[in-house]
């Protein structure tokens, strides 16, 4: 009998809401007529439902929205100073989803800036220097030996003409004291 009461009590709520099948509803109704304990359970449930309904219906009328709407109006009408907007914007940028694309974008911009700096401010110390190497496309020493040196440290191209024709400079009396030892 106790097990049957437990089974019926589990279904009283559904019965009151009309959610049971016809046979199930009839079974609960017949049991409630003959069982004072389950009938008491039904009354408790009915009282609880009535109380909840009263709260839900009466609740919204007791809430005052005046302060809420006046607050919204104040925020709309308030003139924000520029630095509030700016700091708000910066704060938004520092959120993780924004940082995910902002950090690489800033790195790319800084690198592009460094490479472009030479165009805007020639000779700037911060600028990344372009390759100063001169490319020798053609060279003719007219029978003399010619050396082309590319000096890596200063990225300088040096073209050196060796005076290897005997007596070439006798007419001017010029003689080099030494050839460079690159």
């Amino acid at each position: 009998m106790i097990k049957r009461c437990e089974d019926i009590r589990d279904r009283i709520g559904a019965w009151m809401d009309g959610e049971l099948s016809r046979s199930g509803a009839e079974e609960v109704r017949v049991h409630l007529e003959s069982c004072p304990a389950c009938c008491e359970e039904r009354r408790q449930l009915e009282k609880l439902q009535a109380s909840l309904k009263a709260v839900l219906v009466a609740g919204p009328s007791n809430v005052s929205f005046e302060r809420f709407w006046s607050g919204v109006e104040q925020r709309i009408n308030r003139q924000r100073v520029w630095h509030e907007d700016f700091f708000g914007w910066v704060r938004d940028l520092s959120t993780p989803p924004q940082l995910a694309w902002l950090v690489p974008a800033v790195i790319i911009l800084v690198l592009m800036g460094m490479f472009s700096l030479e165009s805007f401010f020639p000779g700037s110390r911060l600028a990344v220097r372009r390759n100063n190497f001169a490319a020798v496309e053609s060279i003719d020493g007219f029978g003399r030996n010619v050396a082309v040196l590319r000096e890596n440290e200063t990225k300088t191209t040096i073209i050196w003409l060796y005076q290897n024709q005997e007596g070439e400079n006798e007419s001017t009396g010029e003689k080099s004291d030494a050839s460079p030892s690159f």
Partner: protein
């Protein structure tokens, strides 16, 4: 982030990227008709240890030549049209003719012809960045060697 904030960020980023891209690509596309050619004739020798203070900007570039003394003999600058000749008198009865072949605002091709008493010493074509320089050396002079720094800037 609020919608206006996103728009501001995107606008700033895209305009910055376009700005820098223009600095890279825009300049390369245009061609320059006038080129400023600057030469410095330097006497490099092992007599004495003098280093001419006017050559301070070339000190690092001259170091590999391993001479002990460097003295600026002559410095001259000329503006020349593309395909035009800039002729410089070089100490020792020599003359240097520089002819810009192609000139963009970033890169230049120069034909350089050095001669002495009507006899050609060297004829070379060199491509270099605008504002860059190279050294041409070797001809003997006053017991040392003549080194010529040649730079060109598109204008």
């Amino acid at each position: 982030m609020s919608l206006p904030g996103k728009r501001v960020t995107r606008a700033l980023l895209s305009s910055s990227i376009l700005f820098f891209f223009a600095a890279f690509a825009g300049a390369a596309e245009t061609t320059s008709q006038i080129v400023q050619v600057k030469i410095g004739a330097i006497l490099a020798s092992n007599q004495g240890d003098e280093f001419d203070s006017r050559l301070a900007h070339l000190k690092k570039q001259l170091e590999p030549l391993k001479y002990r003394s460097y003295r600026l003999l002559k410095e001259e600058s000329q503006k020349v049209q593309r395909k035009g000749n800039a002729t410089f008198d070089i100490p020792g009865g020599r003359s240097l003719v520089v002819t810009p072949q192609e000139s963009g605002t970033k890169q230049l091709a120069l034909r350089v012809h050095l001669q002495q008493g009507g006899k050609p010493l060297i004829d070379t074509t060199v491509r270099l960045n605008s504002g860059g320089n190279f050294l041409l050396g070797g001809p003997p002079h006053e017991g040392g060697a003549l080194v010529i720094s040649i730079s060109a800037t598109a204008q």
